[in-house]
């Protein structure tokens, strides 16, 4: 009984909530037998389609891994890639994709009111799980953004190692910013600056048109520029791929050091053999390593401090801060020009002080977030330096497990691969 009363009360509250305006004109009493049409509602595609998407993703990941590791066929990978481009790209219009799902996951962590669809969780997790087992096969044949770039690789130019290392830092920054912006509820940076979504939808957000075309044209000469030097999801895949149980190999057998494959990778993802001995003075390398390790905490604090200084300008991307700033300008008489933002806010009747408090809350979150971002970047740069100090003996030409996209371009450069194919056809080379 009590519950019922509460329920009725609640409904009453909601009704009054949704009628902020007075009904100026009463509903007429029709005498001509006119029947009032009901509200017309059209619905999005049914949820079962979402499960179809997940199933397609799963199958594509499976096939991609199979084609790369077992079948070792660039042709199959290429066909799968075209399929994925058509399905996830042009048919599904590029949303939701694994790359963008990072933000939904981050937001779900920090905003209790946000609910994340299961499909998005699947899109975030499945490619990473596959990467933990088989390397970045997602990049090779499933990701539509990778596919569209892969198709325009015509004259890939080799970049120097140092340039690759430096440009390779950008995705970490992008990832950090994207998570910061998503977690604080400011915006979804990755989606906003997705250069290929316009192609998938045949319609451009006008400002993005030039950027999209530029990335695609750049892709003619620099193979998959977005994947290598921007993609934030690539960072996660890279981490998973380094630890992968199994990974694509250039040769199906043992490397014979023929160095035929050395130039085959357009992504500069083939590691070459190292000289036999540890070069220079071994002590120097050790000293450097110790120095770097000692510097690490200092750099973390410095990075955190420096980035936390940027938290206020970063927070300006948040709606609440944007509005609060404008309202304060108006209320303190610094401007007499109101904006749609301030007018809309005043229409809500929220006390200004509450807005300021909310803005302060957002800014304090940005402060913590940007501190962590700075510390994270410091860790990234320091680990890169440490990694470059560690000298591991390498005898063979082998894919860099982090950077390799498992595209299978290098297979055909290996004489051993040709041997394998011939054997498959039943031709024995021994004769």
């Amino acid at each position: 009984m009590k519950k019922n009363i509460l329920f009725i009360l609640l409904i009453f509250i909601f009704i009054t909530e949704s009628y902020p305006q007075i009904q100026r004109f009463p509903k007429p009493d029709f005498e001509s037998g006119y029947t009032q049409p009901g509200p017309v509602k059209t619905y999005p595609r049914s949820v079962s389609w979402e499960y179809v998407d997940v199933a397609v993703l799963l199958i594509a990941l499976f096939l991609s891994s199979y084609f790369a590791l077992k079948k070792r066929s660039r042709k199959y990978i290429f066909s799968l890639m075209i399929f994925s481009l058509i399905y996830f790209g042009f048919f599904r219009k590029g949303c939701v994709c694994a790359i963008g799902s990072i933000q939904n996951i981050s937001l779900a962590f920090f905003d209790k009111t946000y609910v994340v669809p299961l499909v998005v969780i699947a899109f975030f997790t499945l490619p990473l799980i596959f990467a933990l087992f088989f390397g970045r096969t997602f990049c090779a044949g499933v990701c539509p953004l990778g596919a569209i770039q892969d198709l325009v690789i015509l004259k890939p130019q080799k970049q120097s190692n140092r340039l690759n290392h430096v440009l390779g830092l950008i995705p970490y920054l992008y990832l950090g910013l994207a998570v910061l912006f998503a977690a604080t509820g400011a915006e979804f940076l990755i989606c906003r600056y997705d250069p290929f979504i316009g192609f998938f939808r045949f319609g451009f957000n006008q400002n993005m048109f030039i950027f999209s075309t530029a990335v695609l044209l750049l892709g003619v000469f620099i193979a998959r520029p977005y994947c290598r030097f921007l993609c934030p999801y690539g960072v996660l895949l890279k981490w998973a791929s380094v630890l992968s149980k199994r990974h694509v190999t250039i040769t199906p057998d043992e490397c014979i050091q023929c160095h035929l494959c050395a130039d085959s990778c357009p992504f500069d993802a083939i590691n070459t053999p190292t000289p036999e001995r540890y070069p220079g003075e071994p002590d120097k390398g050790k000293r450097q390593l110790i120095l770097l390790l000692l510097l690490l905490p200092l750099m973390i604090v410095t990075g955190g401090w420096a980035f936390s200084k940027l938290s206020v300008p970063l927070s300006r991307n948040h709606y609440i801060v944007k509005v609060a700033e404008q309202i304060r300008l108006e209320d303190t008489g610094q401007t007499t020009i109101t904006t749609e933002f301030s007018e809309a806010f005043r229409g809500t009747g929220m006390p200004t002080a509450e807005l300021y408090n909310r803005a302060a809350l957002v800014q304090s979150r940005f402060k913590t977030g940007s501190w962590i971002l700075g510390a994270f970047l410091a860790v990234v740069i320091m680990s890169k330096l440490i990694n470059l100090t560690l000298w591991r003996r390498r005898l063979d030409y082998e894919p860099d497990k982090g950077a390799c996209l498992s595209c299978g371009r290098c297979f055909k450069y290996c004489p051993k691969e040709h041997e394998r194919l011939l054997e498959l056809k039943g031709v024995s080379l021994l004769e």
Partner: protein
């Protein structure tokens, strides 16, 4: 044979090359067309064409010009055609561009396949230590660059950014005040009871503005206003406005210093041009209301603003510029979290209750009344609270919680500026050029007696169980029997009254236009207790607080008390 094959290959290659070039040119053209189309749409949106807007404006002035109508029709049709053609072009263009690019890349890809030569044997490469050191250096440098750019940005924007940062501040939560607290203060136009009764009688009866006797302090008020002060917990609030600015002030009751002074800005819907008002009404005639948490002020522009008692702006809105040839002047009442506003103007009279904490409209009732300058009263009639409004031609009572009309009596007329009085179940409504009506409340409220002489124009009557006291604009003060309407006495003072009589204990305090406080007994016979002079013109009602009186003169705010 082999030669043929090579030739064939060459021919295919050349064909592909030609196709690629054509596709490239085609895509480029579509691209350019795209961009041009976009800019054209931006600069010249057919649906927002200025020519059409102008024609509409012309039609407003000449509604019967049929040629103009024809012109609009044809231009409108043209604009819509242009818009939908563009829409089609942009959508179709996307597909064409896509097709062009696909052809281009397919050709290029095939060409590169055909051209593929046997790759040269690459040089054996080794991962050298020098190479790594170089990479290390580059990474280090980029790290340093990122850090220094960050620090530089932080330093450069520091000043601006510290201004853009927000601190968590303590906001006083809105609290509905206790009845007790309301009576301790002077929250409304005509006191805590809204009907001209003071809660304190321990106030001075003598003072002199010229010699300073019993004048505790005197502070100039920055901007003019005919609104009366309101008082809550040692703070006096009033508003002031001129053609350009509207302001709210908070004074300290001990020192008389202005604690805070706020300009009213950033009100959505605030008119860019102020409405015309007359000199004796001004831009800030309505008296503010205060409820301990927030203070509320309304101005002739329809701007309604709410500050907390500390001066933080809480909310603001424009009620719609009132159509009022003197200037809006009805004062505010706030009751149990609802801000009650009488808003009878020429373009849609209404009365409304707003959520005091947020300014959201809780109820609003349209009224069939003429423009009114009087203020509502809020009284407990025994079984319920009633919000009573006197206007032309009705005196109407509303439920202050919901806005439901409780009763109405047709008795008023003219430009009603005098607010009703109430005592012992009888509502008294009066207005010059109309009538004084005593309305006995009950199941069907009815007029029990009427009176026609020396009626008030701006000032409002005060009633007790036995007496009703009226003060006219030309100085006549009448005391009537509250139950029968027979005149006990009539006294002609030298000066007229805009202020209203306030019952302070057994005495009535009545301020005339030139700052002379006439203090007389509320009794069957006239007996003047004292006349205290302020030495400054006064049109407002004083505040009677504990041992103190606050009076807003034409230029200054005075505090009167025993020294």
């Amino acid at each position: 044979m082999n030669n043929d094959k090579v030739n064939n290959k060459l021919a295919v290659y050349n064909m592909l090359k030609r196709t690629a070039v054509l596709a490239a040119i085609f895509s480029l053209l579509v691209c350019v067309f795209f961009i041009l189309n976009y800019f054209q749409l931006k600069s010249n949106d057919p649906l927002n064409s200025p020519a059409l807007t102008k024609l509409y404006a012309d039609l407003d002035t000449n509604p019967n010009d049929d040629v103009l109508r024809q012109q609009i029709r044809s231009l409108d049709l043209l604009a819509r055609k242009a818009y939908f053609t563009k829409q089609w072009q942009i959508n179709f263009g996307g597909y064409i561009l896509f097709a062009g690019i696909v052809v281009l890349f397919v050709c290029l890809k095939l060409m590169s396949e055909l051209k593929q030569k046997t790759p040269e044997l690459p040089q054996p490469v080794t991962d050298t230590w020098e190479n790594r050191l170089l990479s290390q250096k580059w990474v280090m440098f980029s790290g340093i660059i990122v850090l220094s750019v960050t620090v530089a940005l932080a330093l450069l924007t520091q000043k601006e950014m510290s201004a853009a940062s927000f601190e968590r501040q303590q906001v006083k939560k809105y609290k509905v005040p206790d009845e007790k607290d309301i009576l301790k203060n002077w929250p409304y136009f005509r006191g805590p009871y809204t009907i001209g009764y003071a809660a304190y009688s321990n106030v001075p009866q003598t003072w002199d503005g010229e010699s300073g006797v019993n004048i505790l302090w005197k502070t100039p008020v920055p901007k003019p206003g005919f609104n009366s002060p309101v008082f809550w917990d040692n703070k006096i609030f009033l508003s002031g406005a001129d053609e350009n600015t509207e302001e709210v002030y908070c004074f300290d009751d001990n020192s008389g210093q202005i604690i805070w002074q706020r300009q009213v800005t950033g009100i959505p819907g605030s008119p860019s041009e102020r409405p015309d008002v007359t000199e004796d009404t001004g831009y800030a005639a309505p008296t503010m209301a205060v409820d301990g948490s927030y203070v509320y002020a309304v101005f002739a522009t329809g701007n309604l603003v709410c500050f907390d008692v500390g001066g933080n702006k809480i909310w603001g809105k424009n009620l719609g510029v009132p159509d009022n040839h003197y200037g809006h002047s009805s004062s505010l009442i706030v009751d149990r979290g609802l801000l009650l506003i009488q808003y009878d103007h020429g373009n849609g009279a209404s009365v409304m209750g707003l959520d005091a904490a947020t300014g959201k409209t809780v109820w609003q009732v349209q009224r069939d009344m003429g423009i009114t300058w009087s203020s509502p009263i809020l009284v407990n009639t025994g079984k319920r609270m009633e919000l009573i409004l006197s206007a032309n031609p009705f005196v109407v009572s509303y439920d202050p919680k919901t806005g439901n009309e409780l009763w109405r009596v047709d008795c008023m007329g003219g430009e009603v500026a005098s607010s009703p009085a109430y005592a012992d179940g009888i509502v008294y409504a009066a207005n010059e050029n109309a009538i004084l009506a005593a309305i006995q409340l009950g199941d069907t409220p009815e007029i029990i007696w009427e009176h026609e002489d020396d009626l008030p124009d701006a000032s409002s009557p005060v009633a007790t169980k036995e007496y009703l006291i009226l003060s006219s604009g030309y100085g006549a003060v009448t005391c009537l029997d509250a139950k029968t309407g027979s005149v006990y006495w009539l006294h002609d003072f030298d000066n007229g009254f805009y202020s209203s009589p306030i019952l302070v204990g057994e005495n009535v305090y009545l301020m005339d236009l030139y700052g002379n406080m006439q203090i007389f007994k509320a009794d069957k016979t006239f007996s003047l207790v004292n006349t205290a002079q302020l030495g400054e013109d006064v049109s407002t009602i004083p505040v009677f607080a504990d041992k103190k009186i606050f009076i807003r003169g034409s230029d200054n705010l005075y505090c009167i008390g025993e020294k």
